[in-house]
């Protein structure tokens, strides 16, 4: 079946040094007529400058409301192999760690039931299997789940949580991102698999403010590791950086956003003024280590631009301890989701609801007091509400 189509436009994208997705599709097409039709339709898109996909009915596996994205070619006669071309979202491992053995198993099953094409990984974090038919879904699920793998989220549900590599390979991680992500994923299995929320809810966990998993920009709940206490300085290592040619004044001291550092042979930090932005630690990793009391900042609300414009997550809980079994964290998340679920209109993300209802009603519902850390600056216009409870003070 393979090589059915001439693809002069796509062939252009096999040139050049960067690995080519066209080559990947062609590789799959050698074995899979689905992949070959995908190639053909894509060539057509390149010619006509438009896509040929459509939604269809909702598809999935028994007892689950998500994990599969139904996709159909709008040209099924021309490209019958992709008349159905659903994606299956397999919940990735925390931190995207794999063994060759596990990955090969995943490939074997996918070659059997699907197009042989994958996304490693989807933007939310799932291991995405790209292209199969409705009738294969149950088999795929049985094969994977029996081997210990489950589906990820889709639809108006908890989405597959994801995280940075954290303590697995990073000296800056203040929290166990991998374990938190694993634990929360387990905790919210029902919410993940059976969409019953107003809209999607994403959780991402980063070990520090560097935020290598874009938690603050792409998660309804962003858990970001941080610390209390002084930055630990190894002056001998500071000296080595200087000796190696680093301009500590220009690169570190002057770039410190709070101006709390000074350097004249020894490096000093006025820790009370430090905002824990991570710049100095990141650029002088051998010399500086974060403070000893570890915890996380919880931020809420980020999302893509539609409907109200892009949002970045907002600081809600400036500092919370997050140690196993994460009881406080879980409770807090349940409170957040509970309020949102009660309050949102359909297709309203939690950030949108907080904005519409006012931060106060959210904070009161989850039992968090007002704190200056939650805002960049206080309100400017003198229009503000009072509740009866404020008068009793």
């Amino acid at each position: 079946m393979s090589g059915k189509y001439k693809t002069p436009l796509l062939d252009e994208l096999e040139k050049g040094p960067w690995p080519s997705f066209v080559t990947e599709i062609k590789k799959a097409a050698k074995k899979s007529p689905m992949a070959d039709d995908e190639l053909g339709q894509l060539e057509k898109s390149y010619r006509t400058k438009r896509g040929y996909w459509k939604h269809g009915g909702i598809v999935g596996v028994l007892g689950y409301g998500g994990g599969v994205i139904g996709r159909y070619s709008s040209l099924p006669e021309e490209f019958p192999g992709i008349a159905h071309f659903h994606t299956v979202r397999i919940n990735q491992t925390s931190g995207f760690f794999y063994t060759a053995e596990a990955l090969k198993m995943i490939c074997d099953i996918w070659d059997k039931y699907g197009s042989g094409l994958t996304n490693m990984h989807g933007s939310t974090g799932d291991l995405v299997l790209l292209g199969t038919t409705t009738e294969n879904l149950e088999a795929i699920f049985a094969e994977y789940s029996s081997r210990g793998w489950d589906l990820g989220g889709s639809g108006s549900a908890m989405r597959t949580p994801s995280c940075c590599v954290g303590p697995g390979r990073c000296e800056w991680s203040n929290i166990d991102t991998l374990d938190i992500t694993y634990t929360l994923t387990q905790e919210f299995q029902d919410e993940l698999h059976r969409p019953a929320f107003p809209y999607k809810f994403k959780i991402k966990t980063a070990g520090c403010a560097v935020d290598c998993v874009a938690a603050i920009a792409r998660a309804d709940l962003s858990i970001i590791g941080t610390w209390k206490g002084n930055i630990q300085i190894d002056q001998a290592e500071v000296k080595k950086y200087a000796d190696a040619g680093m301009n500590i004044q220009a690169e570190i001291v002057e770039m410190c956003p709070t101006n709390c550092m000074s350097y004249n042979g020894t490096l000093k930090i006025n820790d009370a003024e430090c905002s824990r932005c991570m710049h100095c630690i990141a650029k002088m990793t051998k010399a500086l280590r974060s403070g000893k009391e570890k915890g996380a900042t919880l931020l809420v609300g980020s999302k893509a631009p539609i409907v109200v414009g892009s949002l970045l997550s907002w600081v809600i809980v400036p500092f919370i301890k997050v140690d196993a079994p994460y009881t406080e964290l879980k409770d807090m998340i349940r409170k957040m989701i509970g309020w949102w679920d009660d309050t949102a209109k359909p297709r309203e993300r939690i950030g949108e609801v907080i904005e519409a209802e006012g931060m106060r009603s959210f904070l009161e519902a989850i039992g968090v007091p007002a704190q200056p850390q939650q805002v960049k600056e206080p309100r400017k216009d003198p229009f503000f509400f009072w509740e009866e409870s404020d008068f009793q003070k």
């Binding site: 796509l10 252009e12 994208l13 050049g16 960067w18 690995p19 997705f21 990947e24 590789k27 799959a28 995908e38 894509l42 390149y46 438009r50 896509g51 996909w53 459509k54 939604h55 071309f85 990735q92 995207f96 794999y98 063994t99 060759a100 053995e101 596990a102 990955l103 490939c107 042989g116 094409l117 994958t118 996304n119 490693m120 933007s123 699920f141 049985a142 094969e143 789940s145 210990g148 489950d150 940075c164 303590p167 697995g168 390979r169 000296e171 994923t185 387990q186 698999h193 560097v210 920009a217 792409r218 690169e251 770039m255 956003p257 991570m278 710049h279 990793t285 893509a304 539609i306 297709r347």
Partner: protein
Amino acid sequence: MALPKRQTDIGPPKYDQFIPPVIKKNYGKWKYHEVLTGGTMVHVAESGDTLHTVRVASPRILSTETIRDICDMAERYCEGYLRFTTRNNVEFLVSDKSKMEPLLKELKEKKYSVGGIGPRISNIVHTQGWVHCHSACTDASGMVKAIMDDVYDYFTTKELPNKVRLAVACCVNMCGAVHCSDIAVVAVHRKVPTINHELVTKVCEIPTTVASCPTSAIRPNPKEKTVTINEEKCMYCGNCFTVCPPIDIHKPDEDGVAIVVGGKIGSLRTSPKFSKLAIPFFYNEPPRWPKVVAAVRNILETYAKNAKKHERVGEWIERIGWESFFKLTGIEFTFQHIDDFTFARDTFRTSAAFKY
């Protein structure tokens, strides 16, 4: 052939089954790392143990054939352990330093691209495009390939003032991190959608459709059981199409992409920033979008030439001012650049101090 017995709600397997012994031993006890080359680094634990990483570019769309090849290498050089990054690169986790050389050699022979570590460009976060999404207004994978071919040196070897994060979103749903990227491409429509009223009546929920429009351009037409669009108000976001496909937003000859710049995610130095509009439009020019590629390179190189060490694109622009950004890059400033969405007000200049 009987299927194995399915299980439900088991979640993913626990990560600890997939991490190499050196990580297990030094979990959470890493001390520092050193970037060795554009694509290799070593992490050193408090115990003195080391873990070498080799990062390899991935087109993200991977065939099982390629995955197997990668797995084979992981078995040969990493006791089978590997991971993927949050930007979809592959990382070989090398516990035995002596395996580095043969691994790098095999990668080179097989034309894998090693890079993306340190102050460089890494993989472009992108999504489905024409490959798989019904909403796509451009192709993502093709544009990524074209751009990365062009700026390839900045992935493998050349240094920049700091990391530069690129992204491509194939529609304004922005499944990537376009809204907070140093330089990013987002596909945009420019014409009001056309409505297939008959189908609307059949398949769409009118209130949801009306509510989907960010500018309240859609009004219900209860008599005909369909909706109408106020052309003056529509800014072609396509959100109506997502909830009601018979409202067709696709206009191949007028669709294309915009380029946004200056976003960032980390809280280092300055707060996370949204990307801002740099170039409002280029036509889709598959297969290689030459104008888009040239524009990305222009911005990248203007940044590389002018920014201070450690400054991200957005930090550089904010230091020099947007008026200087447009001057230095030679990009034309148009009415499209001036915000007219909800928070427009906050983007208007309220100071008598600015540069010419």
